[in-house]
């Protein structure tokens, strides 16, 4: 689409005003709660527990410092980073070849594979944590970073496959064929032509896998004790932790994800099939 279609909004001034107001209100709806979390996180503990709360707090990093220094937090942060990183690597390493195969080849079993991928989305994946817990105990992977990363990869894999599928499908086969006629074998053509073109998209989907793992709560809570990730840690301390700790923790959980997604938003949008104008 080269210009915006006029689906609902007419050209009248009133219509345009209500359009703009609606957009602004929806933005505020999204941003205000976020602001409240961040302002709480960057307030002194006394302010956090005070009543009534101020809208514009005095910026104070004591809560955050307290949080970071709190026993188990840095360990949990580090676990989260490790798990998310492993998930990212595995989801792309396993998913991208499958996405490529689905987009380039016609073969028996193609539909079966696609159905299996779709089925995994229909299943409440966090529930896998239960039997995995048992499996892992037998294999010695329970309460490990790697074990949790496996569960998270299962969560991220369908998206990874489908996203790389649409990425590769967007690159005309002709480009690879041209490379073949210019002296490349299949692998060389992939490295020299396809890879540079899909790299941004694959990076974006890798970051998406990272964020998915970073945020995941249920499986993390079920599968880890010593090596808890940050969400698991926060969940288990919900009952007894003081408020300012929860907010600082929430902020630490949220901010990196927000930053990552901001940088790759262009690729995410095209990955989800949203056309860039």
């Amino acid at each position: 689409m080269s210009t915006a279609p006029n689906m609902v909004v007419g050209q009248s001034r009133a219509a345009r005003w209500s359009f703009n107001i609606a957009v602004v209100m929806l933005c505020l709806w999204v941003l205000i709660p976020l602001y409240l979390l961040i302002s709480n996180a960057f307030s002194a503990p006394a302010d956090v527990n005070a009543f009534p709360k101020k809208i514009l707090p005095n910026v104070d990093t004591e809560s955050v410092k307290f949080f970071i220094g709190f026993y188990g937090v840095t360990k949990a942060l580090w676990s989260s980073v490790q798990v998310a990183f492993l998930t990212m690597i595995m989801a792309v390493a396993i998913g991208a070849p499958a996405g490529y195969a689905l987009s380039r080849f016609d073969f028996r079993g193609k539909n079966l594979f696609r159905i299996m991928i779709l089925m995994t989305r229909a299943f409440p994946l966090p529930l896998l944590a239960l039997p995995m817990a048992i499996m892992f105990i037998k294999v010695g992977l329970d309460d490990t970073v790697f074990g949790l990363a496996i569960v998270h990869t299962t969560l991220a894999l369908p998206f990874s496959v489908l996203i790389t599928f649409s990425l590769f499908s967007g690159i005309p086969l002709e480009l690879e064929e041209a490379a073949w006629t210019l002296g490349c074998n299949r692998l060389q053509a992939f490295i020299k032509v396809i890879f540079p073109l899909v790299l941004p998209g694959i990076t974006a989907s890798a970051i998406f896998a990272f964020v998915t793992s970073w945020n995941e709560v249920f499986a993390a809570a079920v599968l880890t004790i010593e090596n808890r990730t940050l969400p698991a840690f926060l969940l288990q301390s919900l009952d007894d932790a003081p408020l300012h700790l929860k907010f600082a923790g929430g902020a630490v959980l949220v901010l990196p994800a927000l930053l990552f997604l901001f940088f790759v938003r262009k690729y995410l949008f095209s990955m989800w099939g949203i056309a860039n104008r």
Binding site: V30, P97, Y100, L157
Partner: protein, 282 residues
Amino acid sequence: MQSRSLPYLLLLPATLFLLCFFLYPFVLVAWQAFATDEGEVTSKYFAKMVSHWKFEKALYYTLVLALVVVPVQLVLSLLMATLVSGMKKGRDLILYIWTIPLGISDLAAGIIWLAIFDQTGFLNSFLHTTGMVDEPVAFLGYQSKGTIFIAVALAEIWRATAIMLVILVAGIGLIPKEYYEAAQVYGANGWQRFTKITLPLLKPSLQTALILRVILAFEVFAVVSALGGTNLPVLMGEVYNRQFVLQDNHTAAAFAMLILFISIVSTVFFMWALRTPKGVKA
């Protein structure tokens, strides 16, 4: 240049992975729910699940939450998708802002809304400062299941609308604008264009969005934990309780099977209700 085994080789890692870490565990859960440790098939775990005093409430709250939240999100995401598709400048930024919740863990979302609804939270501060109440209201207290429910619903709507938004925006992007132009020429106004062109052509996307969102709704857990603790039971919370706190694998598996069952039922429902008739292509 067609290598016959190459596609299978490329798919092998993913297939093996899913077989080991999806299909196999899935079978294990099912087995755990239906059989004892000794291996005899039984329904006693389901009986145990159903007879627990929290069961009905958990099932009730899970279903009602989904029933309340999803339609609201549907309307909201349709509205947002429509607005975004009518934008030129700033579309990118607005879209990013509206999809921020996608990057937010459900636990963090729970904490955020906790900051609002807590006794010393922002809502109370607002009400107090504007003089509407004298004492802070215990929105999340044990007695106020109703307000906990509303808080959870709001948090879920805030958090998870973006999931549907993304799918719908992509779907709207696929509708050629010529259809709208033709409709305009034939006299359709904005609302008519929306109901007669956008909605019907959006059916596949609506189907995907609803299926995905409802399945995720049945899994609601961290938000409820953050806001209601154990005061608002939901199915996933019961699974967590059984597995982790009570160490009762089998009943946890029974709950898991129940969640799976209602997920499948709702998926089938949406696949039937929003099917596009044969011969009609998007």
